[in-house]
Symmetry: C2
Amino acid sequence: MASWFQIPKNSPFSLANIPFGIISSQSASRVPAIAIGDHALNLSQFASSGGFSPLSAIQQHLDVFHQPTLNAFAALGRPVHRQVREYLQNVFRAETQYPQVLKDNAELQKSALVPLSEVTNHVPMQIGDYTDFYAGLNHAYNVGVLFRGPDNALQPNYKHLPVAYHGRASSVVPSGTDLHRPNGQILTNPAADPKVPEFSPCKKLDIELEMACFISKPNDLGRPVAIDEAEDHIFGLVLMNDWSARDIQAWEYVPLGPFNAKNFGTTITPWVVLLDALEPFRTQPLEPENRESLLPYLREKRAENVYNIPLEVELTNKGGQPSVVSNSNSRNLLYSFPQMVAHHTITGCNLRTGDLLGSGTISGKEPNTQGSLLEQTIGKKPIKLADGTERFFLEDGDTVVLRGMAGTEGNYVGFGDCVGTILPAVPI
Amino acid sequence: MASWFQIPKNSPFSLANIPFGIISSQSASRVPAIAIGDHALNLSQFASSGGFSPLSAIQQHLDVFHQPTLNAFAALGRPVHRQVREYLQNVFRAETQYPQVLKDNAELQKSALVPLSEVTNHVPMQIGDYTDFYAGLNHAYNVGVLFRGPDNALQPNYKHLPVAYHGRASSVVPSGTDLHRPNGQILTNPAADPKVPEFSPCKKLDIELEMACFISKPNDLGRPVAIDEAEDHIFGLVLMNDWSARDIQAWEYVPLGPFNAKNFGTTITPWVVLLDALEPFRTQPLEPENRESLLPYLREKRAENVYNIPLEVELTNKGGQPSVVSNSNSRNLLYSFPQMVAHHTITGCNLRTGDLLGSGTISGKEPNTQGSLLEQTIGKKPIKLADGTERFFLEDGDTVVLRGMAGTEGNYVGFGDCVGTILPAVPI
């Protein structure tokens, strides 16, 4: 798709993408926008200036473009998202049917198109609840090997249901937010009897490479979402770094799971990539044959229920050169997002517009394809950075960037950078 | 404290209480209110009619009484809550300093005082995140004995930190909401190899008797709340029934903790009892000597950091007579709510106004003092109800009522009933 607007060929935000977000800029407080190449299109300004006039389906809902979150837009449902995305693609096309809207409207271009370098991104939705799954088969296996050996690496439930835990919504932050190293209780000497923890800044600070979906259409309490309707409850996807304090986790997690080890911050990319934009990249999950042994409420009609999206992890020492330390792919999931929705709601649990569901860490099987440092180093082989330093875990000043992009040059569908820098622990 | 207003002597909502909630009625959509005896005082109506005129401190904040949740009022902070509560006590006192406000104002009495039987109660706050702790020492011990025997009943971390997990906020419902028995995966034959779950309505549906606090003052991400300031971040307490599907839990919970076993519903009492109202009932926690071995960030100055509040669990077969099946007390906690706040935030996790923190199940040590059926029956001794039927777990049509009340006749400080009835599972 060629555009009259200049879109860099390597941009994750090609005309094939059209992701939605919430921006603020010098001239606007939080408003909905799309990313297109190196720019954001302010949809509040666009709507106010008649940008959506040719699209009759959205006329009675224009207020959604003047909200500080995408919740109202998401709640309109997938058919509306699809029409709006396709209309905006049309507006930016070289051969647009609507040249008067933006192509030939220099004034609106000037007021509504803002360079990405001049906007601040925000968490795009008001998140009601955040749930983190554990659907990355290789991650579950790798961690299981570390803790229980290869024979019992996967728990008996793993191939029957997408394991999950409730996460912390308040500390989900947009890409670019620096985070302090957490303090907490650490068991420095696990062999001691009795076991006595010390208070310390985390010494084993790790990342987790994940994808996550935002919920669009809610379901009522007591009303499960059927597996083959689940996709229509999903607005779109983002990348997510589920920062993890491994030493805090090791001491606290019995018997109720991770808590403080994960609640100090979770970073997401601010642009929500709609499922329609990812449709060309559908593929089968790991172990597609597992589908046959699933209970019917988890069995999707479509075999291609995950996406082939190359993912990478970049780590940079303060002031140093970036090193790509891992290359993975979002197809490394045993369960799809629709399966997560179906499982989450099978008890009658209600999902709300804006809820966030993480995939769990996405690791490959080969060397340097793991989604966490714990897996990649297995506590023995440090990662070597470009500046010659080594890492088992993150040091203060380290910057981590997650990236994910599918497609080909000029037509990339990507998420942009998921960036976070670690600040020193707050003195207590 | 005598009142000019008729307050039944056995009411949990005496003049010594003044709990806050959100009601709707024939004449009002969701508005803040207090409970006083058998009535609610509509604070929106009260404020609009000049009811707060004598209270200068609140004049610039009167809009908080016209909100559909208590979040804005809670965010004003404890000194304001205290002034408002004491002012309202004064207004209702026999010897009120402000007789013109309500005592001698028949018109306002008629418009603002509504019988509780004519109001609908709502979840009083917009809950950002809900966290459930595990601070009931006897419960943790009892469950530990069932799973690991008496020698290893408590995990090594238990006496060093208040164990917790993130819960599900969307399905927190007000007392009186019926809940469907959840469906899910159950391992009927744990001895089989390989282990294969079946899909079924939960067969081991249980209750958990808890208390919970709502957060008033928020803290910023990266800024822990100091232990001796934590109390000022707490708005007040409610009773909570953390319904639990034990069979779903047993299969799903490794390695990340309970998820679907708890996400189908959590019932709370709708009236928030302020900490100031509970001040006379302060007492030492279980094992006060444990304080000495805690890390400093958890060591409270005040030794009396929990409350002496008798609690009870009532179970009624459909159409039958109620049976009180358990009597416990909120002093059966090893950790206080301020300790939970300090621990939750020590990593820098941000709590927001309206966040809900559950205590964990509150069980005593003696027979018939447990906060869950699992503990009380230990799978061997069924509970006998008044109609002669027996229970290991809940049956469809069963109604559970939790109650908690401190103080003496005429001056009770209580929470009202925390009621829920189990409906049959939804057919899948």
